[in-house]
Symmetry: C2
Subunit: 173 residues, 2 copies
């Protein structure tokens, strides 16, 4: 944790935390992709993060208090990364960021459906999602019985779009 900051401005300090091209990508994959292991993050990364960058970011995010690391009981050298409350409360920011990107940037249809649903779900959906993340990562009791988790809902919507696009491509070809 670096103690010398450029300024005490909240926006600046936030930028010092994830003002780079990879930190938020790692957190996104953990939050929305449910990834907990190094290899999952490495191979599952859509943007193709390099292993040294990933190792560096995981270390940095741990130093910053956004992640913790624990041993996986099933595999002696397997490590499980967990989100802290600090990282979980990024959900509303990620939702806004996704909503903004969806409006102004050349997003792909299948990758923006999650952002769309999360935007439409609004704060209630974000709260439910954060509750689920606290359960998964912090071992907190789950409020609702959770018939379908937010992540599963988003994932299902994503897969539906992918399937529908594949269908459309085959019928219009």
């Amino acid at each position: 944790m670096s103690l010398d900051h450029r300024s005490g401005c909240p926006i600046n300090l936030s930028l010092e935390v994830f003002g780079d091209r990879w930190s938020l990508i790692v957190l996104r994959d953990m939050i929305f992709g449910g990834r907990r292991h190094f290899r999952e993050l490495l191979n599952g990364s859509m943007e193709g993060i390099a292993s040294n960058i990933l190792a560096d970011r995981l270390k940095r995010l741990m130093e910053l208090g956004m992640l913790t690391k624990a041993d996986d009981p099933s595999h002696k050298q397997k490590a499980i990364y967990s989100l802290t409350e600090m990282a979980i409360t990024l959900v509303p920011i990620l939702a806004h960021l996704g909503a903004w990107g969806r409006v102004w940037l050349p997003v792909s249809e299948e990758l923006s459906i999650r952002a769309e649903l999360l935007e439409k779900g609004g704060p209630p959906m974000w709260d439910k999602f954060m509750d689920e993340l606290r359960h998964e990562h912090l071992g907190m009791p789950l409020d609702t019985p959770a018939d379908a988790t937010v992540r599963a809902t988003l994932q299902a919507a994503y897969e539906a779009v992918v399937a529908s696009k594949a269908l459309g491509a085959s019928t219009t070809a």
Copy 2:
């Protein structure tokens, strides 16, 4: 505008826009500081941006459609930078970012009062602020008569904290 993106994910694309240590700082100073000129941004920058970095970011933000540049009628070589709608709609994100930073990072009291007020004001205040920015930067008509602008309100609060801290320091010394 680079056409080769790492992925079509909204969060990734947003990160490609301001996933660096300076872009959002420049936008913050324009939005909250009301700065429109190169020198204002250069000398007024709390974090001490270098002139080449500033020039590069202004150029990049223009290419991305976040800023426009116009001649200042009062000074032949003076340029006025304006926010586009794309940049103005970042206000809610900046508000959330400030709120998050205020909770989790070592913010200074005087620099976080703006974030606190903006958080408490919520979406209605953000909308009013965005309306004012559209008036300032895009020449749009102003809805409300605007007794006190949001920026002036935030600035006054900032100065009040600074004054109160100076007072406290002198009386406790």
